[in-house]
């Protein structure tokens, strides 16, 4: 078990190394020059270049960057010259995290209920209804849903504020917009898993012991169906990250996503690079957690195999 974890951790570091390097390389390919947006004389520009080490040969820049990254220093934003990228990211992290985690929680709760009901009432009304809802949820992206929610729940009905982040109430619409996809994904997943487990021999055996239908579901079906749900963790993290890019735009939420889009618009390459790396780290971390969690909750991995 420990070896399993250690292997994954080492692997993650290697992957991160490669990803960061490649991303850095790509950022060097970006067209236009940094600081082009501002009115600068050639001398000041040269000074800025020197300050940011942009005049040095690439391998040197690479080496310095990597060294800094390892220490958590992603350089300073080209736009806000006195602010380190790391600082900006960390300042905005709580907002994005809050909305994202809230979206996942809502999604899990509603999705589980929907999916379980659909599986238990298989091929009857609730199953078809839930499946249709799930497909809708998966098909309508958050940047379509966002404006719809804003318009109807925000402007027309006036129930929720539609922009900024001044209170928890402000987080409802953004989280809702993000959560629909989660609901749909979780519901479909758990429904499929439950249906599969219900068709397996050990479910019939449990019934043959005389257990009631409810007991069979609670004690055997659910546990076996929920375990693979962990594998949805990483993809959902990606979804939340990318979803936040648009949702934060639409709802003017001061999160990391909004910052990323802004930095794209003004060509703040340090910021773009830094944020991309941050996203990758997040995702790789999610993968790691997912793998470890899976190893813990599935006894077939946690405990070694057959001894004879």
């Amino acid at each position: 078990m420990l070896r399993y974890v250690a292997k994954r951790v080492v692997y993650m570091f290697v992957a991160l190394l490669i990803i960061i390097s490649v991303t850095w390389f790509i950022s060097k390919l970006l067209p236009g020059t940094p600081f082009a947006d501002q009115k600068l004389t050639p001398e000041t520009r040269a000074q800025l270049y020197a300050k940011y080490g942009l005049d040095e040969p690439w391998p040197v820049q690479y080496g310095k960057y990597m060294l800094n990254v390892v220490q958590g220093d992603l350089g300073n934003s080209y736009y806000f010259q006195s602010k380190p990228v790391t600082e900006i990211i960390l300042a905005r992290l709580p907002v994005s995290a809050f909305i994202g985690i809230q979206a996942i929680v809502i999604g899990l709760v509603i999705g589980l209920v929907l999916g379980i009901v659909a599986a238990l009432w298989h091929n009857r009304f609730w199953d078809s209804a839930a499946t249709v809802l799930a497909i809708l949820g998966v098909s309508v992206p958050s940047f379509v849903l966002g404006p719809i929610l804003q318009y109807w729940l925000g402007v027309k009905l006036g129930w929720f504020p539609i922009a900024f982040f001044e209170s928890w109430w402000h987080s409802v619409l953004p989280s809702l917009a993000l959560s629909v996809f989660v609901i749909a994904t979780v519901a479909r997943f758990i429904r499929a898993e439950m249906l599969e487990v219900m068709g397996l021999d050990y479910t019939t055996l449990a019934k043959a012991k005389g257990l009631s239908g409810l007991a069979v579901v609670m004690k055997h079906v659910l546990r076996n169906a929920l375990i693979p749900l962990v594998t949805v963790l990483a993809p959902l993290t990606i979804y939340i990250i990318t979803g936040s890019l648009v949702v934060e735009q639409i709802f003017a939420v001061p999160g990391i996503g909004e910052e990323f889009v802004r930095s794209v618009v003004v060509s703040d390459y340090a910021m773009i690079l830094g944020t991309t790396i941050f996203f990758s780290v997040l995702f790789i971390l999610a993968l790691l957690i997912q793998d470890i969690l899976y190893g813990i909750i599935d006894p077939r991995i946690r405990v070694a195999g057959a001894k004879e």
């Binding site: 091929n123 397996l200 021999d201 050990y202 019939t204 055996l205 449990a206 019934k207 043959a208 012991k209 005389g210 257990l211 009631s212 239908g213 007991a215 004690k219 055997h220 546990r223 076996n224 375990i227 599935d298 006894p299 077939r300 405990v303 070694a304 195999g305 057959a306 001894k307 004879e308």
Partner: protein, 343 residues
């Protein structure tokens, strides 16, 4: 409600079961009757598709409700018809009075629950045993089925057991509440040959020890030879011959039984005896034949065989078979030499 004969613990009469599939109605069991006596092992023998597993599962009402039709018949146990009981009544009977062992030990156990807990489930539900007492009883049961180091094993997960060991666990679960009837559906088919013998021997010992009545479902006549008291041969949803072990093995009266016996190796036969497989395959139950279903594959078939299903002829108290060859107007036929070698 038919009167229960003395000595019978289960009476099945004219059981008819069909599936509705998207291609139409499949008649899996077309009117079979058999009795199970106290303390005996009854073997139900037949090819895949003969309806034997469907019969077994129907007794415990474990067939998926969505597309199963129990079209008729009754199964009388302790004065009640199992086919008509409410789900609640059935839950009290399953696991406590009638228990079942499934075919594939690799998939019969919940992979995420410790073995001891799986054994204890029935104990808690039917006997009301507490956690501690249930665990002790689980250990006792593991010992009973021959698993070494039971105290250690009881806390392990199924994937830590080999196939044969898992099947023993499944048997332990089935026995946990000391059922009166044990239904074993191909209990050894999925196992290696040496392990097969062990499991069958285990079943036989346990049956003697505990005095259970056992229904053993199998397609393998060889399996039957050492474990069964009586045999019922099924083909295409019908029972074509029943009798005691000796009667069916040494004096079979139906060509299908002859075919079965000719196609298995018999240790007592001499070496020159041929093995003759039965050509062809069972009929499609979407459109079952109106006469005797074995007709297309039977070397002795007559025109009437295709037209009408023969009645039973009784040869002794236990022995009867359904075949037109026994009609007075039928020609005399000797069973093939290949089965006479079994004497």
């Amino acid at each position: 409600m038919a009167a229960m004969h003395e000595g019978n613990i289960l009476q099945v009469k004219d059981l008819q079961i069909s599936f509705s599939t998207y291609a139409g109605e499949v008649e899996a069991v077309r009117g079979i009757s058999f009795d199970l006596r106290r303390g005996e092992t009854l073997a139900i023998v037949g090819e895949s598709g003969s309806g034997k597993t469907v019969t077994a599962k129907s007794l415990m009402r474990l067939l998926p409700e969505a597309n199963i039709l129990i079209k008729g018949g009754e199964a009388i146990f302790e004065g009640e018809d199992l086919l008509k009981l409410s789900e609640q009544r059935m839950q009290k009977i399953r696991g406590s009075k009638i228990a079942m062992v499934f075919q594939d030990p690799m998939t019969s156990l919940d992979p995420t629950m410790r073995v001891g807990k799986q054994i204890a489930e029935g104990l808690k539900k039917h006997l009301g045993l507490s956690g501690q007492r249930a665990k002790e009883r689980a250990v006792e049961l593991l010992t009973l089925v021959g698993i070494p180091n039971p105290k250690e094993r009881v806390r392990q997960y199924p994937h830590q057991f080999s196939g044969g060991m898992r099947q023993r666990v499944v048997i332990a679960i089935a026995l946990s509440c000391e059922p009166q009837i044990l239904i074993a559906d191909e209990p050894s088919t999925a196992l290696d040959v040496t392990i097969q013998a062990q499991i069958l021997e285990l079943l036989r010992e346990l049956q003697e020890q505990l005095g259970m009545s056992v229904i053993l479902i199998t397609h393998d006549l060889g399996v039957v030879a050492h474990t069964a008291h009586r045999i019922a041969v099924m083909y295409a949803g019908k029972v074509v011959e029943t009798g005691t072990l000796r009667e069916v093995f040494y004096n079979p009266q139906m060509p299908y039984t002859w075919g079965l016996l000719s196609s298995i190796p018999l240790p007592t036969a001499d070496r020159s005896r041929e093995l003759i497989p039965i050509p062809g395959s069972p009929p499609d139950m979407l459109d079952p034949p109106k006469g005797c279903p074995f007709t297309p594959r039977c070397p002795y078939s007559m025109r009437i065989c295709a037209e009408e299903m023969p009645e039973y002829t009784t040869f002794s108290e236990e022995h009867r078979a359904s075949c037109w060859l026994h009609h007075q107007m039928a020609p005399n036929v000797e069973p093939p030499a290949t089965i006479r070698g079994a004497k």
